[in-house]
């Protein structure tokens, strides 16, 4: 069981890195958003693995809260994507530079 937890944590780090790479490299706003979801899921996996290792249920409760906040974030974020698409007619992240210094 110890090896399973360890490898689950390595998998979590791997998925987080892939998600971060996607956020850096992709130009499509929706794909970037999905990469953020992937990173959130990687963190959830770490929470569940540590919950299993420590035998405490706090990790499970935190995963529940992360999922709720992620669902709310997805709803608001996708509404913003729709509003941006209506304004600029594109989803390229390079087109949205109004707040860039």
């Amino acid at each position: 069981m110890s090896e399973l937890v360890r490898h689950a944590l390595v998998l979590s780090a791997l998925l987080f890195s892939i998600g971060a790479l996607g956020v850096f490299l992709r130009r499509n706003l929706i794909t970037v958003f999905m990469c953020v979801e992937l990173m959130l899921n990687a963190v959830n996996l770490a929470f569940v693995a540590f919950s299993r290792a420590l035998g405490a249920l706090d990790g499970q409760v935190l995963v529940f809260f992360v999922m709720t906040v992620a669902a709310a974030e997805a709803a608001v974020g996708l509404a913003i994507v729709i509003a941006l698409h209506r304004k600029k007619d594109t989803l390229n992240v390079d087109a949205f530079s109004l707040l860039r210094f």
Partner: protein
């Protein structure tokens, strides 16, 4: 670790990593979304292996169900075919990003592979136990605050997606 559990875990982990790589290399957002669904379902099964049936069910219902349907709905609503051509993110910026992510992964992996991880023998994360923990005084206020958050997100999403902003 039991052999069967190990084999199932490696198959699921391989599927998750492969689908995640497909997701960030795929040109069309629809393809990325379906790859992400594969990742989420594999993670759900891994939660099951780690003895968390409640989180596994929640993962399928909330993530693979509700959130991904929302993503696919928006992709099809906006009719996004594929990434528009433009200045590429490759070159120095892409290499820097790749290097930084590799560094992050190397750091975490080197710590994890050397650390001693003690796992408790008995572990009960059934739905009843998790619900008991969730509604305990420790998390009750956070739980109630979540419902306010969801209400705010609901109103925000409706206001943002209206015709004239």
């Amino acid at each position: 670790m039991e052999t069967v559990t190990a084999i199932v875990f490696y198959v699921l982990a391989g599927a998750a990593v492969a689908a995640a790589l497909v997701m960030i290399t795929q040109k069309s957002p629809i393809g990325s979304a379906f790859a992400l669904i594969v990742v989420l379902c594999s993670l759900s099964a891994i939660y099951g292996l780690l003895g968390s049936p409640f989180i596994a069910a929640l993962q399928i219902v909330v993530y693979a169900g509700a959130v991904m349907v929302l993503f696919l709905f928006v992709i099809m609503l906006l009719n996004v075919r594929s990434e528009e051509p433009g200045p590429s993110r490759g070159g120095p910026l892409g290499l820097t990003a790749l290097g930084l992510c590799a560094l992050l992964l190397a750091q975490v992996a080197s710590v994890l592979l050397r650390a001693r991880i003690d796992v408790v023998a008995s572990y009960d994360a059934s739905s009843a136990r998790v619900a008991q923990e969730l509604f305990s005084p420790r998390f009750l206020y956070a739980f109630e605050a979540t419902s306010v958050l969801i209400l705010a997100a609901l109103v925000g999403a409706i206001a943002l997606a209206k015709k004239e902003l």
